[in-house]
């Protein structure tokens, strides 16, 4: 449930996550520099071709990510027909579609762990400010672990309140739930300290060696 990744062994799947993100960023900037409908249509075709042809993604994997904004795109197009003209409208809409499809291709061909590694790498300049990239990875992993935990605690409190006769009392649920999970997080923090993940200042020579966790 927690990933939009579609397994595969294509060139796109095997390309470095950092490279794919850099290309995507370049596309995002580049498409805003041109105003030609033909270039936009070409970008849409290219992104779709890479996704379906090269990466061999199922059509559904792309549609799932583009579908939520269909209505918005249609509204935008109609708005442009009424206010500006067909050319401006099609450029605006096609540009968005191209970016959406390209982003969907990157997301579907790259594992969450690889992208988290890129985030850690991007955060490495922050080391100057005393931020340790490994801790960012730790927080991301903790979050993924906390999501089912919080959902489960919420369900338990809802049951407890229902057992005491409260029907659908969502606001009254929030406070005990928050206090419970805040206590839990504090305990997790202590456990991390006990295992040596304390807040010692960042050290420079970490760059070469693998980060001890």
């Amino acid at each position: 449930m927690l990933s939009l990744y579609v397994p595969g062994g294509s060139v796109v799947h095997r390309a470095r996550a950092g490279l794919k993100l850099a290309l995507l960023a370049a596309l995002g900037v580049g498409l805003f520099l041109v105003e030609s409908p033909a270039v936009m249509a070409g970008a849409v075709a290219l992104a779709t071709a890479v996704g379906l042809g090269v990466a061999r993604l199922p059509w559904r994997a792309l549609a799932v990510q583009v579908r939520p904004v269909w209505v918005w795109l249609a509204v935008l197009f109609v708005f442009h027909l009424l206010v500006t003209d067909l050319r401006t409208g099609s450029v605006a809409v096609l540009r968005l579609v191209a970016l959406l499809v390209a982003a969907a291709v990157v997301t579907a061909t790259t594992r969450v762990t690889a992208l988290v590694a890129v985030i850690e790498w991007l955060a490495s300049p922050l080391r100057v400010l005393g931020v340790r990239p490994a801790r960012i990875g730790l927080v991301l992993a903790m979050t993924l672990r906390f999501i089912p935990l919080v959902a489960e605690r919420a369900a338990r409190i809802r049951e407890a309140q229902a057992a005491r006769g409260a029907v659908r009392l969502r606001a009254g649920m929030a406070v005990p739930l928050l206090i419970q999970v805040l206590r839990m997080a504090a305990t997790v923090g202590e456990a991390l300290d006990a295992r040596g993940a304390d807040d010692a200042p960042a050290r420079r020579p970490r760059r070469r060696t693998a980060v001890a966790s």
Partner: protein, 188 residues
């Protein structure tokens, strides 16, 4: 930051994600349903304070970008950051930070009224101030059209600001997380 602060940050990122699981409330005549996730933004700011609250939302967005479908309706991945309403997403960490900043400012005499002020400025004004021009710029529509398009969300946002404020005041009484003397020096 202490390990406990890291855990708090992760916790609120998770809470925003869980709020995304709540069924969204569809509004007649509107393509985007009202979701509970901005409630998480408000809670992160007014329970954790500026620094940790803002970081919690950054962590949440990082996971969304990494492909976890944590936005309401199971959306996620990089494409949501290229979408027309991406400005609202970008505004979340800033909103949580501003709410936290105001909450810390009012902390000594924090009550429902101050909580409301913090949540409305940070959770509504800041979010719209970033989201509305972004949508206008992205879709090449006028600022005014973009603004009127988002007016439908105001009632829902007000309800969420009240709910977040009530909860934040109750949590402060029972389990205060913001510690002023140390926290105030490092925030910012």
């Amino acid at each position: 930051m202490k390990s406990r602060d890291l855990a708090y940050v992760a916790l609120f990122a998770a809470i925003v994600a869980v709020l995304g699981l709540l069924p969204p409330v569809p509004v007649p005549g509107l393509p985007v349903p009202i979701t509970a996730q901005t409630l998480g933004v408000m809670l992160a700011g007014s329970v954790l304070g500026a620094k940790r609250g803002g970081l919690a939302l950054l962590v949440f967005l990082a996971l969304v970008a990494a492909g976890a479908p944590l936005l309401s309706g199971g959306r996620g991945g990089l494409s949501v950051f290229a979408g027309p309403t991406a400005g609202y997403l970008y505004s979340w960490p800033i909103a949580a930070f501003v709410i936290g900043l105001l909450t810390q400012l009012f902390w000594k005499r924090f009550n429902l009224a101050w909580a409301l002020v913090a949540n409305m400025i940070g959770g509504i004004v800041v979010i719209y101030a970033i989201g509305v021009p972004f949508t206008a710029l992205y879709g090449d529509v006028s600022l005014w059209a973009s603004l009127t398009g988002s007016f439908t969300f105001i009632p829902g946002d007000l309800v969420k600001a009240v709910a977040a404020s009530v909860v934040a005041v109750a949590v402060r009484r029972a389990y205060p997380v913001i510690e002023l003397p140390t926290r105030h020096a490092t925030a910012g």
